[in-house]
Symmetry: C2
Subunit: 346 residues, 2 copies
């Protein structure tokens, strides 16, 4: 192909003009098509607080701008990211593991509290003391290699179902909170789970369920001991010794240990999250502290005095916490009012 | 501007032909210009082991392929990423902090081991017992808020200089290892420091020095306690209570606590890293276990029996470790033979 210089220049001008027009069209379309990052949220103070926080901390021109590598957000799990009522799923796991455990060690069948759990007598099981539960936890969560535990926990997580919804627990995450996780990550935030639940347990499903890798799960953690197996290979064995109690004041303490800096945003739903929210909110610049209020008895559950109901064992959202949130300017998320839908399957 | 259809089509053909040719040229150039990711490494088994590991674990068609979200590499710090000889920089920090500490608490001046440190008598300081050093560590590293500690440690890190090179310690990182960090990260690996040194100390400079954010520093860690200050604001105070001893078997244990999975690659330089390397190498598929051998007395230091020299207090690269590396197929990096340059400023 031979071309005169004049023709090439002309073509160049046309090509630039066409490309420029195309780019302009694309930019306009992108601006128009920008989808709502929080489609399951109703418009209101809660949604506005989240959007406003992200804008203020990611806009380079904002006085509250936070460099991308410093953006950290922490989320309690039970009652904040997924259903915790009427009982924590990890407690169901512990009870479900008693059967296989007794099969392997039949002598346990006659010993309490294993005998009560095996009886299936719900009323008796509900009355087990904290000391009994600790015994059950030690027997089902420790004494094995970290790989064996992971295998057992994964098999249960893949098959166990919540009684009310007849779905795997991992499907009972709150769609609006999943959107907050994605929205924050899309804006450069590292998202962490900071849970009173077992760190090794939550790490099994965190990536698949929330897009949160194991190393970004901070939880209550037992010690592990390194040794060599019969084949000479290294083994890490789970010990019945609590190293990190990730509840209440233990939450900011564990955040310092595991993350090493103060979060810019924290989400919780009970007094167990109070200190994490206080610690987060006390930092400089824009900080986001939010509490999920369980006030939707129809679509999920309503519990705690702030929902006009008597307190329960789980998820103590006390009046005192409600008052502190108000005084400190934390935002309370009403499941009933603020969430268009609760689960992705609705 | 008006254009005939024929002209537009002709221009389109030209534009595509020109664009196609340009793309081809760019691709060829890119392939030719693909820079060596490890320019400070001499060709040899060590460099080949690293490149081969990255290829095998990142090539989708490889049987050893590792999904991007699972790629974890861990690095000891002292003697592996930067100079540890003749003394760990954190120990210099502890000794340097005694002056300001005694200024604030003059009563310490007459008490051992503070009196010996203040005397400046190097011989006497070198003879301090482990118990004395623990006393000094407790006094200089704990008892303050995490923010006060960070401020003090940062001020020291920004100003203190190594005696031999007369440069900040943070400039005494090994250029070849910086290249390994960057190379692994460019290939989707999360890079972690797993150090016997203080976690809070290393986190101060890790991002600026290695591109490793604080949450990817696993180290020896003390407890912190949450409380409220006089102004009612939450405070985390550093306690003189060791929570994580990140040496020897403590390294794989801390890796499980802080990362939650087995690394695919691990780098060390002493018996303190043995169990981390064993744990890493025992995983399925391709694993990389490497040890830095200090055998370059001219450009850095030579120490340890494997370098044909008597062992020293720091960085015990024993003959036994050398033999294990050989038996297990770990790769020993000879600073003298494998590294073209040691520091970026050479």
């Amino acid at each position: 192909m031979t071309l005169s210089y004049g023709r090439l220049v002309f073509c160049g001008v046309v090509a630039r003009a066409v490309a420029g027009a195309a780019l302009a069209v694309m930019l306009v379309t992108a601006a128009q098509a920008q989808p709502d990052p929080l489609p399951s949220w109703n418009e209101g103070t809660a949604k506005a607080a989240i959007v406003d926080f992200v804008r203020k901390t990611t806009d380079v021109g904002s006085p509250d701008f936070v460099p991308a590598e410093d953006r950290v957000a922490t989320f309690d799990q039970d009652g904040t990211l997924w259903v915790e009522h009427p009982v924590y799923s990890q407690l169901v796991y512990i009870l479900d593991r008693v059967g296989p455990l007794v099969k392997a060690k039949p002598e346990l069948a006659k010993i309490e509290p294993f005998r009560t759990v095996l009886s299936g007598d719900r009323e008796a099981i509900a009355k087990l003391s904290l000391h009994d539960l600790e015994k059950l936890a030690a027997a089902t969560l420790t004494g094995m290699s970290v790989e064996t535990f992971a295998k057992e926990a994964k098999a249960w997580t893949d098959s166990a179902k919540d009684k009310r919804w007849q779905r795997p627990y991992t499907e009972l995450t709150y769609q609006p909170m999943q959107e907050v996780l994605s929205y924050l990550r899309a804006n450069g935030y590292k998202t962490y789970i900071v849970t009173g639940g077992g760190q090794d347990f939550v790490r099994i499903y965190s990536y698949k369920t929330y897009g949160i890798p194991p190393e970004q799960v901070v939880g209550s953690a037992g010690a592990v001991t390194f040794s060599y197996g019969k084949d000479g290979k290294p083994v890490l064995t789970k010990d019945p010794k609590l190293l990190v109690n990730d509840n209440n004041a233990g939450k900011p303490e564990a955040i310092h240990l595991m993350i090493g800096r103060r979060p810019h945003a924290a989400f919780g739903n009970s007094t167990g999250d109070r200190q994490m929210l206080e610690y987060t909110a006390a930092g400089d610049g824009a900080r986001l502290a939010m509490l999920v209020l369980h006030d939707d008895a129809t679509r999920e559950y309503a519990y705690g005095p702030a929902a006009g109901l008597p307190d329960t064992k789980v998820g103590a959202f006390t009046q005192e916490l409600f008052d502190e949130a108000k005084k400190e300017g934390w935002t309370v998320i009403s499941m009933k009012r603020d969430w268009k839908k609760i689960f992705s399957f609705e």
